[in-house]
Amino acid sequence: MAKQKLIDAIRGKRTENAPWVPYAGVHCAFLINESADKYLQDPELLAKGLITTAEKYKADGIPLVFDLSVEAHSLGCDLQWWPDNVPSVTTHPCSNKNPEEAGISLPTRDSGRWPVLFEAAKLAKPRLDELDCALIGAICGPLTLASHLAGVRIFTDVIKNKEFVHSVMKCASQTGAVAAQFYIDMGCEIIAIVDPVASQIKPATFEEFVTPYVKETIKVINDAGCTSDFFICGNATKVLKNVCELATHGFAIDEQMNMNFVRDLAREHGKGFGGNLKLTLALSLGLISPREDAIVSLAAGGHIGYTFAPG
């Protein structure tokens, strides 16, 4: 395992070979025979799952959790828990009012599940350091958090009610900066802003409602000397140039993107890039060979700024 190799790759540098990150998430719970809902609320199980997974897969880095409900929960959204999946957000406190009217206040270390994450990181970090495996903090990105707060109306209001959207995005941005500091305090070497729904909008909407609202979070991460990343899901082709123009060191994409296009754009912007292994087609459904998919990804990714990871 090689933490520094991963950091170098995310920062767009040449590496001897590609570092490897399994975005294991609740798969860690599966590996230790626990249900996802129990796992995500128990620091000892989280630490056990992380260490087991990092050892089993010889990971160069591993996310503490891959759960985009943490911030929303700490801001007052209700959750539905699932035994084999991450929790889903079931209520939107800003569906008919802005964050100020809804009485939203920024999270503290005691809000929601933040104490669980602090404790899990404290328990897991020494062994992960021994394994030379980086701990990755995964922050819910601003547009996804705004969707959790206001619901799907946010995608209509970006056209019809911009003032409202800016108020929600401001709250999401401030929360992201707080979460970044939490992950820094936990000892995460790499912190990713994970904004899956940011692929589901037009480039102009990204420019107006995502770019300005990740700046503060990225600044907090970069100023602390940590490595910053931006994860986007789905077919993000139309906004990938916007992603490259953010001030993160690197970005990650999912299986629906063309790896050669991604690589060329990343190198043009001096960014690290990762992802693209066919999580659904190969690893879940077995419709294509995971081995051949891995070879194709490694060949396309090359040795400059590339992290081998699922998409």
């Binding site: 985009l68 539905q80 699932w82 084999d84 999946n85 991450v86 889903s88 957000v89 079931t90 939107h92 569906s95 008919n96 996804t144 969707s147 959790h148 619901g151 799907v152 109306r153 995608f155 209509t156 056209i159 019809k160 899956p196 729904v197 692929s199 589901q200 909008i201 037009k202 899901c233 789905g234 077919n235 629906q256 659904t280 879940s284 459904l285």
Partner: protein
């Protein structure tokens, strides 16, 4: 002509994937008068049935919203009025007045969880 407008939402998994979740929510948060004239379901690519539907509808990307068999919104979460307009293009004449009347209403979150459950959101995402 069917008595309801059929909407199929092609997803990875509306619980695991936030983009898929909000695609589903864009349908489940439509107001009552629209809910009465539509029939919708989540099709997760993690299931055999979901793969079958993805192939049948000639889906290209996830998530996508299909209305009356047409892939209409691909990797773009629709605005409320766009959704209503696309339904209007494909609605049988008895439903047109209801849809036109609903165009100025906007999303309604009061029955969101009930509607998501009805559509099987998150319930049919196990590998088949």
């Amino acid at each position: 002509m069917a008595d309801k407008i059929t909407i199929d939402v092609l997803t990875l998994d509306s619980v695991q994937c936030a983009a898929c979740g909000y695609m589903m929510e864009s349908i489940a948060a439509l107001p009552d008068e629209v809910q009465e004239i539509i029939e919708y379901k989540e099709w997760s690519i993690k299931t055999k049935e979901g793969i079958g539907k993805f192939t049948q509808l000639k889906g290209k990307v996830l998530p996508s919203i299909c209305i009356e068999g047409d892939v209409v919104f691909e990797s773009i979460i629709p605005q409320y009025e766009q959704l209503i307009d696309e339904m209007l293009k494909r609605a049988p004449s008895p439903m047109i007045d209801s849809l036109k009347a609903a165009r100025n209403k906007g999303f309604d979150f009061s029955k969101l969880n009930e509607n998501l459950k009805k559509a099987g959101a998150g319930m049919n995402t196990k590998k088949g």
